[in-house]
């Protein structure tokens, strides 16, 4: 029994820019694994390597036990890939796009319809509309349907929720959960830190390097400081003051509060500070500080 994904010391450089540096991780079958990091972290390069579209300078990787360089033909039949940029045929209708992808992979829409039913049903009323004329949310659903229609074993989703409003984002994660229940392994990238909590495990990635890999809960629990929150009516001024205070290790805005870490233990009279559980975003920012 092998892992769905195994990435060993993958590196790639573009000219002087090192886009990925010794990246290693494994994803178990049926796992929903998140790559969390900002633009330029190397997420897309990694997706392109794992889908056999880009050859790394160093390292090896397998998908479903198949080598991404040597066995690229077989890999392409097994994976579903939804790139960050909308990549369907704009001049074909919704229905034509779906049929096209099914045919290319030697299957039919009917055969695997059960897999996309919940997603496709929402855009089916518009099946005669050209893909280029769809709204953002509908394009996203069509792209996901097309990436799934050949029943891939591993699904690669590169920033599927970027630029999508919070309600549609929530819906999309609901769909991923259902796909996971079908046994599909999912590698998904996102710049939204709050989505990390919805994954089984996540890798926090920045500037081509993985900062940490674990379950969201473990990452949050491994935060190495005591974290406090404070609220004032003028958070911006309070933030500027805290920054000048030598006992403050870090201070960041979080919604209507500030999250603060101190260099020393708080004295008992600081009752306006409440100790809180760190979020993934707190952890990410703390890792960046090092």
């Amino acid at each position: 029994m092998f892992e769905a994904l195994a990435v060993n010391n993958i590196s790639i450089t573009y000219g002087k820019l090192q886009a990925l540096k010794d990246v290693c991780f494994k994803v178990e079958k049926g796992e929903l694994f998140g790559l969390i990091g900002p633009d330029g972290a190397g997420k897309t390069s990694l997706f392109r390597i794992l889908t056999s579209l880009l050859i790394p300078n160093n390292g090896t990787a397998t998908v479903d036990g198949l080598d991404v360089v040597r066995d690229y033909r077989q890999i392409r039949n097994r994976v579903g890939y939804m790139p960050g940029r909308f990549s369907l045929y704009q001049d074909l209708t919704v229905e034509e796009n779906l049929n096209f992808f099914a045919t290319v992979f030697g299957t039919t829409v009917k055969e695997n319809y059960y897999l996309i039913k919940d997603i496709y049903r929402q855009i089916e009323p518009f099946k005669t509309r050209r893909a280029g004329k769809l709204s953002g949310g509908m394009k996203q659903k069509l792209a996901l349907s097309c990436a799934l229609i050949h029943k891939p074993t591993v699904l690669f989703l590169d920033e599927p929720t970027t630029g999508v409003d919070p309600v549609s984002r929530k819906e999309f994660w609901g769909m991923l959960k259902k796909l996971k229940e079908q046994g599909i392994t999912i590698l998904v990238s996102t710049p939204y830190m709050d989505e990390a909590a919805l994954c089984d495990r996540v890798a926090l990635i920045q500037k081509g390097e993985i900062l940490k890999i674990d379950t969201p809960k473990q990452i949050s629990e491994s935060f190495p400081h005591k974290l406090y929150s404070i609220h004032s009516d003028d958070n911006y001024n309070l933030l500027l003051q805290l920054r000048k205070n030598p006992t403050v290790y870090s201070a960041y805005s979080f919604g209507d509060t500030l999250h603060v870490v101190f260099n020393e233990e708080l004295t008992a009279d600081n009752t306006q500070y409440k100790e809180i559980q760190p979020t993934i975003e707190d952890c990410f920012m703390d890792l960046l500080k090092k």
């Binding site: 900002p38 953002g136 949310g137 999508v164 919070p166 549609s168 960041y252 919604g255 990410f284 960046l288």
Partner: protein, 247 residues
């Protein structure tokens, strides 16, 4: 407080589809105003009207003291605009971008020179004066793009999802620039899909199906909807949308 934006029953129709349905609101000087809504709620259409790029079908609106229907050219000169998609010329150097935009907005040569020095100092970018914009990291580009958008000291700046894709530390640094500009009296009109950023605004409006369904301070909105976060407020309101973005 002086009003920088004022609309009354502002409406935009495309054929028989009403994209923006008689919205009325005001934004005051130096206010940070969050303009939220689901994809397809009509935000972009409102922004385009307020920037003088699209004529309203009916209703009235003034921005920076000018009528958006009859004085759209004056509106354009007195506002700043920044979007995530396009903001800077990659093949120009940092100072050349500032020079270009200063010129477009009709600033005098001497003003441009002085303001360039000041802007680069404030950003801590002096050493990057002669760097091509394309070789700057994304976070720096966004900070520079914001500075470019307020280079001509507009009364108001429109920010369309300005922080998409940047790391959380840079995102916060970006908001500190926003606060500093607002403290100087520049009004900020911002859209975002990050609900924690909605909490950084003085007031927030939420659009659903072409109408403004809620408008208040984040604190009052949370109280009204008995919600712990702006995300919860947003989910409640936007879930009621009938047209979502499937029109």
């Amino acid at each position: 407080m002086e009003k920088v934006i004022k609309t009354e029953k502002l409406t935009k129709k495309f054929g028989d589809f009403t994209a923006v349905d008689a919205i009325s609101f005001e934004v005051g000087t130096g206010e940070i105003f969050g303009f939220l809504g689901a994809n397809g709620a009509g935000k972009t259409t409102v922004m385009r009207m307020l920037c003088g790029l699209s004529h309203p079908t009916s209703g009235i609106g003034t921005v920076a003291g000018f009528d958006i229907f009859h004085q759209s050219e004056s509106v354009k000169k007195n506002i700043g605009y920044m979007s995530q998609k396009f903001s800077l010329y990659n093949d120009l150097k940092v100072w050349e971008n500032l020079r270009l935009f200063g010129g477009i907005y009709g600033m005098k040569e001497i003003e441009i020179v002085e303001k360039t020095t000041k802007t680069l100092q404030e950003l801590g970018f002096e050493s990057e004066r002669n760097t091509l914009v394309k070789s700057l990291p994304l976070g720096w580009k966004q900070k520079l793009a914001f500075s470019v958008s307020i280079f001509h000291e507009p009364k108001i700046v429109f920010l369309d999802e300005p922080t998409g894709g940047v790391d959380p530390v840079t995102r916060r640094q970006f908001w500190e620039l926003i606060y500093a500009a607002a403290t100087r009296g520049i009004t900020i009109f911002v859209t975002t899909h990050y609900m924690d950023e909605a909490e950084y605004c003085n007031r927030v409006s939420i659009m659903v199906d072409g109408k403004i369904e809620a408008l208040d301070t984040p604190r009052n909105l949370k109280n009204t909807f008995d919600a712990v976060s702006m995300d919860e407020v947003f989910q409640r309101l936007a879930r009621k949308a009938k047209r979502s973005d499937n029109y």
